[in-house]
């Protein structure tokens, strides 16, 4: 889960870079930048969940 999270973080970053390079209009570029940020947030959630220690059974 941790590795998947970090891969999503990287993917989100590259999505933003690709949007800047490839998309000509401001509207579509903004939409993809927001999408990239959303992917990063998803990745961050996965990384955070992977680091929460499991509670010991009582």
């Amino acid at each position: 889960m941790k590795i998947a999270g970090f891969l999503l973080l990287l993917s989100g970053g590259f999505l933003v870079l690709t949007a800047l390079i490839m998309l000509p209009t401001a509207g579509s570029r903004t939409a993809f930048i927001v999408a990239g940020l959303a992917v990063e947030i998803l990745g961050l959630v996965l990384v955070i969940r992977a680091h929460i220690p499991r509670e010991e059974p009582r």
């Binding site: 990287l10 929460i52 509670e55």
Partner: protein, 435 residues
């Protein structure tokens, strides 16, 4: 640069810039005192010693190769072109601060500013790893932070890199704007702190088997609060010098920068005080101190371009965010961050960067500033965070960061330094015993 800037500063700008740069080490001293005060008494000397050693290591690493990678606008850089746009991604100066004209030029002042502030970046993670991070390991981590990670992002923002050029290349406002280092210094330090806290794991006895956190209060509130005052003076220098150097702000604007810095810190501290008073019945000194520093951190990015009333709003939001996120990290995410470094520097820094997009008024208003700020944050989350986590995880694998169990029981002072910070104190049996 937002204001037109000359290749050389006026004598007044040069003098003011030098004066402000000389204040920057006070920010470092303040954060070191806060980190020490928020840690345990049996690790106090170790905390201060770590701050000193990490600052020294970071300065040397930055001198050897950091400024080479970071550079300054107008200096050589690695640039590639895609779709008729140039992407400046890394500096290509000379090692050991070579090629800089030492005559008061903007590049020489920037090198001095960076050398003074690199210690601040490097001691932020120390707070997150307090009471359990080996001195040698923290110095090793600082080498990578000061030599590679920080210069990479600082080049993108302050060295004329692709984030700074978002305005010129893609019509996004003035490009990513951060005059005092909310992102370059604070968030980079904050995400490295989060990585270190995760890799080290919580202190012994911090969480019960059911996951409930135990309160481990700081040992010296006087250190913490005096550290806040020192940090404020340092921040005045940090924000003012950064604004002159990296945004071409005129010296007359330093008055506004100083007022905004004070107002943001004051409102953040007061809102934290009110929240803790309402929640716990009494104001919490350590959280209030965290709120104060959070306000300073959030003020850095936008301080030169916002109205004082907006600085108060920036501070109020920063204070509330710091208070909530400290508890959220501790209770929900089980991150043992003894000094609240992740919240204070990371979360408040993110808010500071966004505040530029929301409130900043530039001499020429251009559309797309908020998007430029968002892109800067995605670069931090998408590239810098995995990089700093990966490098620290790699180092931790070959040279374990965490001190042995005996070290935590005895305290870092005795175990790593062989002498206590307070040798006349009697060690309590409950502190020394098995937890």
């Amino acid at each position: 640069l937002i204001f037109p800037i000359l290749s050389a500063f006026s004598p007044l700008a040069q003098l003011l810039c030098i004066f402000c740069i000389l204040l920057v080490p006070l920010a470092l001293a303040g954060i070191a005192l806060i980190n020490t005060g928020l840690g345990r008494s049996r690790s106090a000397a170790h905390a201060m010693m770590s701050s000193l050693c990490v600052t020294a290591v970071a300065a040397i690493a930055y001198c050897i190769c950091g400024f080479h990678w970071q550079g300054f606008p107008g200096q050589p850089a690695h640039i590639f072109a895609i779709g008729a746009k140039s992407w400046d991604w890394l500096g290509a100066g000379r090692f050991f601060l070579g090629g800089i004209p030492w005559n008061g030029s903007p590049a020489s002042l920037a090198a001095c500013f960076q050398l003074f502030s690199i210690g601040l970046v490097a001691i932020i993670p120390l707070g997150a790893g307090a009471d359990r991070w080996k001195l040698s390991a923290s110095c090793l981590s600082a080498v990578f932070l000061a030599g590679w990670i920080y210069p990479l992002f600082a080049h993108w923002v302050w060295g004329g890199g692709w984030l700074a050029q978002l305005g010129a290349n893609f019509g996004l406002g003035h490009g990513f704007v951060d005059v005092g280092g909310s992102s370059t210094i604070q968030i980079v330090g904050g995400v490295t702190g989060l990585s270190v806290a995760w890799l080290l794991g919580p202190r012994r006895g911090k969480y019960s088997s059911s996951g409930m956190p135990a309160a481990i209060p700081g040992h010296n509130a006087t250190f913490i609060l005096f550290g806040c005052m020192l940090a404020f003076v340092g921040w005045l220098g940090l924000n003012s010098a950064g604004a002159i150097l990296f945004a071409g702000v005129l010296p007359e604007r330093i008055v506004l920068i100083a007022i905004n810095t004070l107002l943001a810190a004051s409102s953040a501290a007061l809102i934290t005080l009110i929240i803790t008073q309402a929640r716990f019945g009494k104001p919490d000194a350590s959280l209030t101190a965290n709120g104060w520093v959070g306000g300073l951190v959030a003020s850095s990015a936008a301080c030169a371009f916002i109205h004082p009333a907006e600085a108060v709003i920036v501070g109020i939001v920063a204070g509330a965010l710091v208070t909530m996120s400290v508890q959220w990290l501790e209770f929900n995410l089980k991150v043992d961050d003894p000094t609240g470094a992740v919240s204070v520097h990371g979360i408040a820094g993110i808010w500071g960067v966004l505040a530029v997009g929301l409130f900043a008024r530039f001499p020429v208003q251009l559309p797309g500033q908020f998007i430029a700020q968002l892109i800067g944050l995605t670069a931090l989350l998408g590239f810098i965070f995995p990089l700093t986590y990966g490098l620290n995880a790699l180092l931790n694998r070959f040279y374990p960061y965490r001190v042995a169990t005996d070290g935590e029981r005895q305290g870092m002072d005795l175990y790593e330094l062989g002498a206590d910070a307070y040798p006349e104190f009697v060690t309590h049996s409950d502190e020394y015993g098995q937890r």
